[in-house]
Subunit: 299 residues, 2 copies
Amino acid sequence: MKLTVIGSAALDSIETSRAAHRDILGGSSVYASMSASFFTPVNLISIVGSDFPKRHSEMLRSRNVDLSGLEVKEGRTFRWKARYDKELSYARTLRTELNVFEGFRPLVPQIVSRKDNLLLANIDPELQSYIFHRIKPNGIVACDTMNLWIEIRRKELLKLLKKVDIFLLNDAEARQLSGEKDLFLAAKYILSKGANMLIIKKGENGSLLFSKELSFLTPAYPVKKVSDPTGAGDTFAGAMLGYITGRKKMSPEVLRRAIVYGSIMASFAVERFSAEGLARVTRADVKARYERFKKLTRF
Amino acid sequence: MKLTVIGSAALDSIETSRAAHRDILGGSSVYASMSASFFTPVNLISIVGSDFPKRHSEMLRSRNVDLSGLEVKEGRTFRWKARYDKELSYARTLRTELNVFEGFRPLVPQIVSRKDNLLLANIDPELQSYIFHRIKPNGIVACDTMNLWIEIRRKELLKLLKKVDIFLLNDAEARQLSGEKDLFLAAKYILSKGANMLIIKKGENGSLLFSKELSFLTPAYPVKKVSDPTGAGDTFAGAMLGYITGRKKMSPEVLRRAIVYGSIMASFAVERFSAEGLARVTRADVKARYERFKKLTRF
C-alpha cells in the first residue's frame, strides 16, 4: 500500500535568535512526505512554481516520493517568512506569498488509488476537502491542521472532521478548537465532532492519543538542541501515517508505535533548518532512536 | 528497612478559583510520609503545636507512620495560607506563620537508625543539613526543595547537594538553580554540583531522571480534574523513597518504578484538598493506577 500526501510545498525564510535562512525547502506536504518515505512509498500532491529548485524535486524522487502529483506552474513557489521567539515556541509570520498556490485545484494523478491511505497535511481545509472528494478514499484518512484554519475555516474544518479517521493537532489548537482549557474536555469535544482517533501533540512534552477516551500517552523523543521547529508537526503526521501504511494491518499496537515514530522523526526535523535536513537521516538513525526511546521509557 | 522523613507539618489554608479550605492537614513531611507509608514503614521527624488535631496524629499512626520524632510543643502549628491562580499552576503565598517551627532543632528518636533511608523533604536546607549531620545516614539520602530555598539558601542547598544521592526539583526550580533555560544544561549543571541522581518533575508533563545523562523519562499519570496541587511534589518524593526503601535492593529498574509510583501517588494527592485525601486511597487503588499507566504507556 502507498500513502498519498496533500499539502503545501514552500520556500521558507526562517529567522531564529541564532540564525536566519532564506528560501529553504519547506511546506507541510514536503516535510510529511520526506518523513513518511522512511516507512512507505509516497505520492505527493502539491504545486510549486517554475523557480522551485530542481535539486529539491530530485531529492524527493530519490527518497521514494512520487511527484506525478506535483504540479509545476509558471510563476513563483509559495513562500512563508517567519521569525521565532527566543524560546522557539512561537513563530510570528512576517510574510505569506501564496503565489502559484492561489486558486490551486489539484488533479489526482493516475498513480493514486482509492485504496491508498491519505494524509491531508496542514493546508486550507477547503483544499483538504476538495482532494478528499476527488479521491473518495477507502483507506485510512488522517488530517492535520493549524491555528489559522481553526480561526478562519472553522466550519469547513469541522465538516471535514466527520470524514477522517485520525485527526492531529497540538494542545493549543485543541484548546482553540474546543474552547476548553482542559485537554480531556477538549478531546471529548473534538471526538464528538468526528474522527475516531485524535492525537494531541504537546511539543517537547509528548503526545496523547484519544479514541473514545485516553488510550496512549508518551513523552516526546528528547532533543538536546532545537534549531528550527518548522515542520515538526508535518513530520510527525507523515511518520505516523507512513508507518501505519507500511504495516500490513492497523492495530492499537501499530498506532502506538506510529506515534512514537512520529515523535522520533519530528526530533530529527527540529534539529536542522529546512526539510532537507531529513534527507541526511538514515534508517539506521531512526532505528537507533527508536531503540533508545524504548530503553528510556520502559519501566 | 525503614524510611526516615524530615520536613514540615502544617495546617494549610488553601484557596483555588473553585474552593477554599482552612487549616487542613499539610506540610512536606506529612504528605511525604503518608505517601511513603504505602510502600514501607516510616519514621516522621517534625514539629507541631498543641493545637494540632489529635485525629491527624492518629491517622498517621494508623498508616504505619511512627511519630516518636514528631515533637509536640506548646503553641501554634506552622501555618501556610496560599491562593492558586485559575490554572492551578502557581500558588501565591498569602501568609506564612512559622510558629513552633521557629528555631526548631529536632531530636533524633531512638527508633531512627543510620541504616535507614532518609528523605529530606522540602524545608529550609539548614534544617535538612542539621538532621543529616545528626543522623549520619548510611542508607540512600534524597533531598527535595523549592524556589524559596533556591533564592534565599542557595549556598546551603548547594553544600547539601554534595551529600545526597537523589535530588528532586521541578523544571522551573532546575532552571532557577542552574541559570540555564534548557533542561539538559540545567541537569548538567546540577549534577556537577552533587547528587548522583537528579529527578526533574514537570508536573502534568511528566518527569526526567538524569544520572550522568538522561536515563529515564515518563509522562505524568493523567489526572482528569486537579483540585489542589499542594503537596504533589512532597507526595511524589515520599512515594519514590518509600518504594525504593520497600525493595530489597536498589537497581535502575527499581528507580524507574519508584518514579512511576511517585507520579501515581501525586495524582491522588492533587485530586483532593488536604493530605487527609491520601488516607482514602487504598493499595488496590495504587495498584490499579500502576497497571493502567503501564497499559497507557506501553508500545
